[in-house]
């Protein structure tokens, strides 16, 4: 919902906790939209959606590691 840079900045924020499922959902929605939207007839880049999906995945892996090893 925010601009893309703000999304990545928000994902790098330390204060965000307990939102693993939400971020997973967000990443999945972005990925599906990314796949289906590419190729429509507007000028459109694919750097930033890729970065958003990657940062969302990284956040999810961070959360999973936190669950496996709380230290």
């Amino acid at each position: 919902m925010n601009s893309e840079g703000a999304v990545i900045r928000a994902l790098m924020n330390d204060k965000i906790e307990d939102t693993l499922l939400n971020v997973l959902q967000f990443t999945a929605v972005w990925y599906v939209l990314f796949i289906t939207t590419q190729g429509v007839t507007v000028p459109a880049g694919l750097f930033l959606p890729g970065m958003i999906i990657g940062s969302g995945l990284g956040f999810c892996i961070h959360g999973v590691m936190g669950i496996i090893n709380p230290n």
Binding site: M1, E4, N22, L33, T37, V42, L57, M65
Partner: protein, 271 residues
């Protein structure tokens, strides 16, 4: 949040309407004014640098539609980024710069020098997008498969263009923020401050796993993109269908982002 007397719905109507209007104007521009501006433009620049002659990708209409249309596309909440078209914009400006009507530019009006200018413009676009002059020069080096026309003396020229682009962007953005001549912020996209700490060796394993996951997702994206592109080529052939498709995707994206955000009950401040 979902039951405060309909104001959520009013915001939704306004936002969806705004997105759809932006999508409509963007797709009208692209379909009727500059069809060469469709997509991200990186494949076009790649082809141009490797010897494909594609004049539609380098004319003034494409430049105009690219600049206006990418803003409209980002405003219309489509899942697209704004950094790819900067490469194309830079490449068009680079390809046009030998044709400035002055005498000192006439020696550059040949094919090889024009490609140098295109490479320089594309690296300037990348470095303006991410504030990364070295990354911009390397990107330009990578997408022009270097055995075709790249020469050693081009590298520092391209790097100089990227550095000037980053510097100009930094000066302008500081002017915009009201702190001129401090040279601290020089990127469209900034991640803010990151605190670093020691990384244990175990992180390498996680990094390998993340790389594998992202690679699989990317491969799946390429496969789906090719399949959907074939379907698009067959089914969506008239301008009306193209316009309807963009508006449909804009509406779907806006609705998904809006209602998922509304359904998520937690909110965090951004720094």
């Amino acid at each position: 949040m979902l039951d405060d007397g309909g104001s959520v719905w009013h915001a939704y109507y306004f936002w969806a309407g705004f997105s759809v209007i932006c999508a409509f104007f963007g797709v009208m521009l692209t379909v009727y004014v500059g069809p060469g501006a469709m997509g991200s433009g990186v494949p076009e620049v790649m082809g141009l640098l490797n010897g494909v002659r594609y004049p539609k990708a380098l004319d003034v209409a494409t430049l105009f539609v690219k600049i206006i249309g990418v803003e409209l596309a980002v405003l219309s909440n489509l899942a697209v980024g704004k950094e790819g078209p900067l490469v194309h914009i830079g490449a068009i400006i680079g390809a046009m710069s030998p044709y400035i009507p002055m005498d000192c530019f006439s020696p550059f009006r040949n094919d090889s020098d024009k490609r140098t200018f295109i490479a320089a413009g594309c690296s300037a676009g990348i470095s303006a997008a991410f504030g990364a002059p070295i990354g911009g020069a390397l990107f330009s080096y990578e997408i022009s498969k270097p055995n075709t026309f790249w020469s050693f003396s081009m590298l520092w020229r391209v790097f100089f263009t990227s550095a000037m682009s980053t510097l100009t962007l930094g000066l302008l953005s500081e002017l915009h923020q009201g702190i001129p001549l401090t040279l601290n912020s020089a990127a469209v996209l900034k991640f803010g401050e990151i605190s670093y700490f020691d990384t244990p060796m175990f992180d390498a394993v996680i990094a390998i796993g993340m790389g594998i996951i992202c690679g699989v997702l990317g491969a799946f994206f390429i496969y789906m993109y090719a399949a959907l592109g074939a379907i698009r080529k067959k089914k969506i052939d008239t301008p009306f269908k193209k316009i309807a498709e963009v508006i449909f995707f804009s509406f779907i994206s806006t609705s998904l982002f809006y209602w998922l955000s509304a359904a998520c009950p937690i909110c965090y401040p951004i720094n």
